[in-house]
């Protein structure tokens, strides 16, 4: 049993709420900055995302006509809570103290919630753009979730455990799964981009077609919370892929004293998540938006196909070669 004070600190200060907010907003800054530099722009200053959130929290909240306000208010809060909870199970400085067998399933479930809530938002908003955006969000979810789950759970199959922290430890003994399962890694990155609704998969909120999709009727603190939820899911997604494919915060040798090990782990965590963010930002800046029917075709034909190939390879290897 761990110390309840330490647990509270873990949940609320580091790497929980406080750190997570700061890190998520820093991520948004870096994301915008990298894209801006690729586009020959200067980009926003460091404090811009922080200022945006504070500003939006203070803005007037406009209630659309005939909307169930109780659910409308709850949706952004639930979305933010879900992704923040998911982050607690991802190893940041070492194995998560909350880890248990099957936490990978819980994380995947919690990370899916915001998309479903976006659909609910779109449906509730009584706005044609939101409705179309919500339907697109849920259609897109069915396309990318299957290969995303397949490749992430393949790492669990290969490691023979359903706990993320244990999968990370398993990679300590062998190579990173990025090298052992390269197809799975690429598929995971593509699906992560789709999950976070970033170009070329920003179909649900395609600005030039349906204004802001499900976000259209969000104002004030609802918009601020939804915005935060998106930034936090960006961090969660990057951290999840870093843990499952890049070996997370662990190093293959023991470091003493323990606090030095934590610092090294934290630095590794930052470096790996930032590397993934760099790739995601580069994809965002280098592509245009594809259509939902094109995503449907590409998703089921190629991405899911590649994921299934990866699953088959891992199953065959597991069958012939029993882990020591």
């Amino acid at each position: 049993m761990i110390d309840p004070v330490l647990l509270l600190i873990y949940v609320f200060v580091f790497p929980g709420f406080l750190f997570l907010f700061a890190y998520a907003l820093t991520f948004e800054f870096l994301d915008r900055r990298i894209a801006a530099r690729m586009q020959h722009r200067v980009g926003p200053p460091f404090f811009q995302p922080f200022a945006d959130v504070v500003k939006m929290l203070g803005k007037e909240v406009i209630d659309p006509d005939g909307v169930n306000l109780r659910i409308f208010d709850a949706v952004p809060v639930v979305a933010l809570a879900a992704v923040m909870t998911a982050f607690l199970y991802i190893p940041v400085v070492g194995a998560s103290p909350l880890a248990f067998q099957g936490d990978i399933v819980l994380i995947l479930y919690l990370l899916t919630l915001p998309t479903i809530l976006l659909f609910v938002l779109g449906w509730l908003s009584r706005n044609i753009y939101s409705a179309v955006g919500g339907i697109r969000a849920i259609t897109q979810m069915f396309i990318y979730e299957v290969p995303f789950f397949l490749v992430l759970l393949t790492t669990a199959t290969a490691a023979g455990t359903w706990s993320i922290s244990a999968i990370v430890v398993c990679q300590q003994n062998y190579w990173w799964y990025m090298f052992l399962q390269p197809i799975g890694f690429v598929v995971a990155l593509i699906c992560l981009q789709a999950k976070l609704e970033r170009t070329p998969f920003d179909i649900p909120e395609a600005e030039t077609e349906i204004i802001a999709g499900p976000w259209t009727e969000l104002t004030g603190r609802r918009l601020a919370l939804m915005h935060l939820a998106r930034d936090v899911s960006l961090v969660c997604g990057c951290a999840l892929v870093a843990a499952l494919f890049l070996g997370g915060p662990m190093v293959p040798w023991a470091i003493s004293p323990a606090w030095l090990g934590w610092i090294v782990g934290f630095v590794l965590f930052c470096a790996k998540t930032l590397a993934i963010l760099l790739v995601l930002s580069a994809i965002r800046a280098a592509t245009g938006r594809i259509r939902i029917d094109q995503l449907n075709r590409i998703g089921w034909k190629y991405i899911t196909g590649a994921a299934l190939v990866q699953v088959a390879i891992v199953l065959v290897v597991n069958f012939w070669w029993v882990r020591p």
Partner: protein, 393 residues
């Protein structure tokens, strides 16, 4: 999903100017499209009748913020023909240089907007930055970035100094290099190919039947360009090619515009290098004799037509402007049927619509079979009645 009506505009992120589409869609598929155009009627044609020719030119530049030189040149060209004034070769070359620089900045702007419509904002930022080189050249030559005001009846307003010619020539290599990059991008960039190919198809016969003009028509294989087929300014002296394409879709229209960018750069370079010496203005009379003329001009968006009727005074009796966008609108409505909802912005953008230039008002009452002139108050009353009716339904 049953048919839903999706209103796009008059205020919408995809639109730079006010227009209203009522898209009747079945899920993501477009069934039908209803257009409402005139939100920005400014009465320029009527205002032109109240001014003398000298003051009509700056007014006509304000028809459009992008092809300002086109409108002024089309008008000046027509009036000069009625007057029987021949403008000196140097003035013709300078007008050509400005016209082609204008085409370059218009097409670069369009390429960026097309990228933006499919969410490819990097292309947008790049082309708009490169467009600044063209704008700088124009500013150096005329003193203005948008409304160059280079035309006068009988010639041009200001001469080009050797230093200005050298500065413009020095900027061209960079532009040509960047244009080459965009050619490669259009051919290779995967998401652009996915979104541009096979979208908004129009065959050659359809283009002719719907009266499409400019790059929209040339992308469907209509080999027509007013610069070659009814030569004006210096185009007859300059070696250049009409760019056509047979794809007939948005991809084809992109290829034509990028090809025209290359040709325009060539024309500008030739004109700058072969700029004839001499006067820049011929003396022109103040008043024009009675006459009617149709002045044709290949604007960046297609063939621009000015109909001018003069009555022996220093004012026009009637000026009618047919902008290329008006000629292309019907083809858009045709192209959109059966396409995906997501393709609306890019198909509409593919004709490079310029809405404020196109806004005209004609009052027709089919029930009473009347039409003609109405007062402003009457117009407001009718608009209010229509608006209230729409609110009710």
């Amino acid at each position: 999903m049953a048919n839903v009506v999706i209103p796009i505009g008059p205020q919408h992120p995809a639109l730079k100017e006010p227009v209203n589409f009522r898209v009747i869609a079945d899920g993501e598929k477009i069934v039908r499209l209803e257009l409402t155009l005139a939100y920005t009627h400014r009465g320029i044609e009527k205002a032109a009748e109240a001014r003398d020719f000298i003051r009509v030119l700056p007014l006509l530049e304000r028809v459009c913020g992008i092809c300002s030189h086109s409108h002024a040149t089309a008008f000046a060209k027509g009036i000069e023909e009625i007057m029987g004034v021949e403008i000196p070769p140097r003035a013709q070359y300078i007008r050509t240089i400005i016209a082609e620089l204008e085409r370059m900045h218009s097409h670069l702007l369009w390429l960026g907007v097309a990228g933006h419509e499919i969410g490819f904002n990097t292309l947008f930022m790049w082309t708009w930055r490169d467009r600044e080189a063209v704008q700088d050249t124009l500013e150096e030559m005329s003193g203005n970035r948008v409304h160059y005001n280079m035309n006068e009846i009988g010639g041009v307003r200001c001469d080009l100094s050797p230093a200005q010619v050298q500065a413009a020539l020095a900027r061209l290599p960079l532009l040509e290099e960047r244009i080459q990059k965009y050619v490669a991008m259009v051919e290779e960039e995967e998401t652009m190919l996915l979104r541009f190919r096979g979208i908004g198809n129009m065959t050659r016969d359809e283009a002719l039947a719907y009266g499409a003009v400019g790059p929209t028509a040339r992308a469907s294989g209509v080999d027509y360009d007013a610069r070659r087929d009814d030569p004006y300014l210096a185009y007859a002296d300059v070696p250049w090619n009409v760019v056509t394409d047979t794809h007939g879709d948005v991809y084809g229209r992109t290829c034509v515009r990028i090809g025209e960018l290359q040709e325009s750069a060539k024309i500008v370079r030739y004109c700058l290098e072969h700029l004839p010496e001499g006067e820049i203005r011929s003396p022109a009379p103040k008043a024009a004799p009675t006459g009617e003329i149709i002045s044709r001009y290949e604007a960046p968006r297609g063939e621009l037509v000015h109909f001018i009727r003069t009555n022996g005074t220093d004012k026009v009796e009637r000026l009618d402007i047919r902008t290329p966008t008006l000629a292309n609108w019907t083809s858009v409505a045709m192209c959109l049927a059966g396409q995906q909802l997501a393709d609306i912005p890019v198909i509409v953008a593919a004709i490079d619509p310029c809405l404020s230039c196109t806004s005209r008002i004609t009052v027709l009452d089919n029930n009473e079979n009347t039409g003609g002139i109405i007062t402003f108050d009457e117009l407001r009353k009718r608009n209010r009645a229509r608006w209230q009716e729409e609110e009710r339904t």
